[in-house]
Amino acid sequence: MSDVIDEVIPQSLADRGVKPARPPKRRSKGGRVSRRVYVFLALAVVVSVFPLYYMFVIASAGATAVTSIPPRMYPGTQFFDVAAKVFDTVPFFASLMNSVFVSLTIAVVSAIMCAMAGFAFAKLQFPGRNLLFLIVLLTMTVPAQLSVIPQYLIVSGLDWVDTLQAIIVPGLASAFGIFWMRQHMATTVSDELIQSARIDGANSWQMFWAIAFPVVRPAAFVLGLITFTGVWNDFMWPFIVLKSPELFTVQIALKQLQANRTIDVALAMGGSFLATLPLLIVFFFVGRRMVSGIMDGAFKG
């Protein structure tokens, strides 16, 4: 507001190269956050959380809550009854275990696979490297599901229909993961370190495990989290290849809960909440790392 700054700033904004002299932070207006900002953010938080809350309300409030007007807005006491019914109607516990097994396997194996490939693309020289990396980038933009029919033919040719490996093996190849790990390898693993290891006679395998991987382990962990979330929530492919209820992942079990001949809304809502709960718990502990991981990835991309 002061006239002096008024003269300086517009130009500096216009050509954006010049940094204005930095005024002392305490006095700067940028430091004060207006109440309106908090109101908007709080609204966004309410919108984010409301559907989950609503699942719990309907699941816990008993049969009449679904058809009450005005809609019921506070939870009841019957959540455990509905939860018991969920476990009774479909093999929900087995589904949870299947989801944990599949998600965890893919998350861990694929994170290591992607770290290896990312290491090769970022730190090793080899003929065809750029072409291969271009292919990786291109595969990111082609949705796999447009070729589900041949994928199904292949899986049935391998006799993998209705097995968990039909989900795990194709799920291991993650173009996004390779891209992600390559960016982290390129920016956080120093070339000097690699060079000196090479001079010391380390082979590339040792360089990867002893030097590169420990440095990018946090990034690999976040990648694993993102992969875990993605696999846990995946629907279409498991829906196509899994046929026996005892092999269902939790999302497919949800579909079955919902499709019961006469729709029991509370049951479906209870199932939805229970299917989300494990991730919510994980998120409670590692959410901050996930947030910063996603922001990190965006910045590097």
Binding site: V66, T67, P127, G128, Y152, L153, I154, S156, G157, L158, D159, V161, D162, I240, K243, S244, P245, E246, Q256, A259, N260, R261, T262, I263, V265
Partner: protein, 424 residues
């Protein structure tokens, strides 16, 4: 050279495994042990567990591994997927709507004549057994049940509207569809509320199955677009809509179950397997519902057969299950326990079926109503496209009720989407 060939060879090997696997799947040794563990795919909601337990009691030492795959459609989808490549069950239930496309490719199933099926096939209602017989005479399934049809109505609401309440009187009053619509007008005028839940499942499913020829001519030609009987059946549904007596609540949509409980409509179609659903959806209406014959009387909705896939591991054991449980006596027992109506001719005519009543439905003569409907059910040829055509006509009626189509355009729209559905 060597480096790049590495990847190519590895890939080719993987692809080879994938491709050769296509042709090598299947086969496998079959076992003739009648007490080998039978894997059995059934639907949810028909209490297959009871049958399996009953079987274990009847045949000591027999083992059945039951899987309730999902809805009838989901089970058919899973079965197709398994037949295309995957582990098939030894026994599988197929709902009648899904049956034609399996019958058309009958080599996927064991011809039950080889196990003695031709000796028992004539024990079942002719049209039910005929639906599971391929053109070459092979029998791919034995009828487990049929969808005996009645209308469920709320006697208490009828009384308030000044309509008769006893099933016989009600059935006499709606002896044909014009009288049904007239009755609905009376009800709606008196109460201000819709009479029937919807026109597609409650009206059209009933009318379109009271024909002598449906979507195909007896020699298997598509006639759905020219057959006047189909158009008439469709028109009854449209007229019901135009009369303003339908609530427009589609079956299994969100308002349906609550509507059964809160009187949003007074009449709903009630194939025997659905009676249980009315009880669970509307427990507070116990004693208020009645079951009467549908207008025009004959009818069937649903029903299934049980089949043995060609690649089944234990066909003998599977056949033992069918022989034991699909007897007239076995089907009668299952009807009284879980509501699926028997397909065996002698069971349909048996006293214990005819006398079946339920206090929830005011002790209406459920067994008698259902038996009459399946006995009067006309038989007609169903082809592989029967279900898609049915779905297209049905969906047009749903749209009509939702306001997406007008009454005068409904038939044209229905034909158009049926044509698309069968890809012609």
């Amino acid at each position: 050279m060597k480096r790049s060939s590495t990847a190519i060879i590895a890939t080719a090997a993987a692809l080879a495994v994938a491709l050769t696997g296509c042709s090598s799947s299947g086969g496998g040794a079959t076992s003739a042990d009648p007490n080998a563990e039978v894997s059995f795919w059934s639907f949810t909601g028909i209490n297959a567990k009871d049958s399996v337990n009953e079987y274990a009691k009847k045949v000591p030492g027999a083992k059945v591994k039951l899987t309730e795959v999902g809805s009838t459609t989901e089970t058919a989808t899973a079965l197709t997927a398994a037949l295309a490549g995957g582990k098939v069950p030894d026994l599988v239930m197929i709902q009648n709507d899904d049956l034609p496309k399996f019958v058309e490719n009958s080599s996927n199933f064991i011809d039950l004549r080889t196990l003695g099926g031709d000796n028992i096939a004539h024990d079942y209602l002719g049209w039910a057994a005929g639906a599971a017989t391929a053109t070459d005479g092979s029998i791919i399934g034995i009828p487990t049940d049929v969808g005996g049809l009645g209308f469920a109505y709320r006697a208490d609401l009828f009384e308030k509207a000044g309509l008769p309440t006893k099933p016989d009187e009600v059935a006499a009053m709606w002896k044909d569809w014009p009288s049904f619509i007239a009755m609905g007008r009376k009800y709606t005028a008196a109460t201000g509320k819709p009479f029937v839940d919807n026109i597609e499942t409650s009206v059209f499913f009933s009318t379109v199955n009271q024909v002598s020829e449906k979507y195909y001519s007896p020699d298997g030609k598509l006639v759905y677009d020219t057959n006047p009987q189909v158009k008439d059946a469709f028109d009854v549904a449209v007229k019901t809509h135009d009369a303003g007596i339908s609530a427009g609540i589609a079956a299994w949509s969100s308002g349906w179950a609550p509507g059964r409980a809160n009187g949003a409509f007074a009449v709903t179609v009630a194939p025997s397997w659905m009676l249980k659903g009315i009880k669970t959806d509307a427990p507070n209406t116990a004693g208020k519902w009645r079951i009467a014959s549908v207008p025009g009387v004959g009818g069937n909705w649903g029903g299934s057969v049980i089949a043995i896939p060609a690649r089944a591991e234990h066909p003998e054991a599977a056949w033992q299950y069918i022989k034991t449980m699909m007897s007239a006596e076995g089907q009668t027992d299952h009807f009284t326990q879980s509501g699926t109506f028997p397909a065996a001719t002698s069971a349909v005519a048996s006293q214990s079926v005819l006398d079946y009543t339920d206090p929830f439905f005011g002790d209406s003569k459920i067994g008698k109503v259902m038996a009459t409907s399946v006995q009067k059910f006309p038989s007609f040829y169903n082809g592989p496209d029967t279900t898609p055509i049915n779905g297209a006509l049905l969906n047009t009626l749903v749209q009509l009720e939702a306001g997406g189509v007008t009454s005068d355009k409904a038939w044209a729209t229905a034909l158009h989407s049926a044509k698309q559905a069968i890809g012609g």
